[in-house]
């Protein structure tokens, strides 16, 4: 169960990443942000985002052209 949800549908890079950065700032360590995006580039972007920030990419997947990510704040 996510602690916060971010709807980034219809937004192209870098807006989903920028929104995620701001959302994660409002979370406590260990809490999870659930993101929904439609930009195919967001898959690579969120992998890079987690690698560089140290936050954990708990899960990612695609469903009907929508990409979903769960990121746990470090």
């Amino acid at each position: 169960m996510a602690d916060m949800e971010l709807d980034a549908r219809g937004l192209n890079c870098p807006l989903p990443i920028l929104r995620a950065k701001k959302s994660i700032n409002d979370l406590e360590s260990g809490q999870v942000l659930h993101i929904i995006a439609t930009d195919p580039g967001s898959v690579k972007d969120f992998e890079a985002f987690c690698k560089q920030t140290g936050n954990e990419l708990v899960s990612s997947g695609e469903n009907n052209g929508e990409f979903v990510f769960d990121i746990r704040k470090a």
Partner: protein
């Protein structure tokens, strides 16, 4: 090395050489013989990988138009205000194109030819700026930190500005702007854009 890997490498080499020639002379200015000669192979080798010059050109365009910049570093290293992100994105983009202006040449050619690739160039290259400016401007206007300007007109103005900067500095090499460094010009143009939209930094 496996045969398949060799074939993939050969294909990549053909695409790289063809890109340089097409970017320089356009589709009609380059023959298959010339590409083969530059590669040091016979035209028959080229036809093993691409059935026609048109197919080769389309492959070059497709490969180039699929290239996207990643702005993750920009987002993570720059402050998150509208100006810092926009300038950071523009700097990354302009410096990337200036290292290989053939990308811009091919984009301009595809625009003239009305190729479907022209739409890919927009989706993969310019849409990041269009979305960022249009969404950002709506939020800024709601906070009273930008004038009530049309977001689409503003984003188009920005795209045109960046494209012209790259054209003048990286392709045309116009003497008139020789004394002005690319990044310095970019910063001044971004400031002009921000003034045009009535941008106010958060208090």
């Amino acid at each position: 090395m496996t045969k398949r890997l060799k074939a993939a490498e050969r294909r990549a080499t053909i695409l790289a050489v063809a890109k340089v020639l097409f970017a320089d002379k356009g589709y009609h200015g380059v023959s298959v013989d010339e590409i083969a000669k530059r590669l040091g192979v016979s035209p028959a080798v080229l036809y093993q990988h691409f059935p026609s010059k048109e197919a080769l050109y389309e492959s070059v365009l497709n490969e180039i138009s699929e290239k996207r910049e990643s702005y993750v570093d920009t987002i993570l290293t720059e402050p998150s205000d509208f100006k810092s992100v926009l300038l950071g994105m523009a700097q990354l983009f302009v410096n990337s194109i200036s290292r290989d202006p053939d990308y811009l040449r091919m984009e301009l050619m595809s625009a003239l030819e009305d190729a479907p690739a022209a739409q890919h160039f927009f989706e993969n290259r310019w849409r990041s700026f269009a979305d960022y400016i249009e969404v950002g401007l709506k939020e800024l206007a709601a906070e009273g930190r930008a004038s009530d300007v049309n977001p689409k007109a503003a984003s188009l103005m920005f795209q045109g500005m960046i494209r012209e900067l790259l054209y003048v500095k990286c392709i045309q090499g116009n003497e008139r702007y020789k004394g002005m460094a690319l990044n310095s010009l970019l910063e001044q143009m971004v400031d002009l854009f921000l003034a045009a939209i009535g941008y106010k930094q958060a208090a």
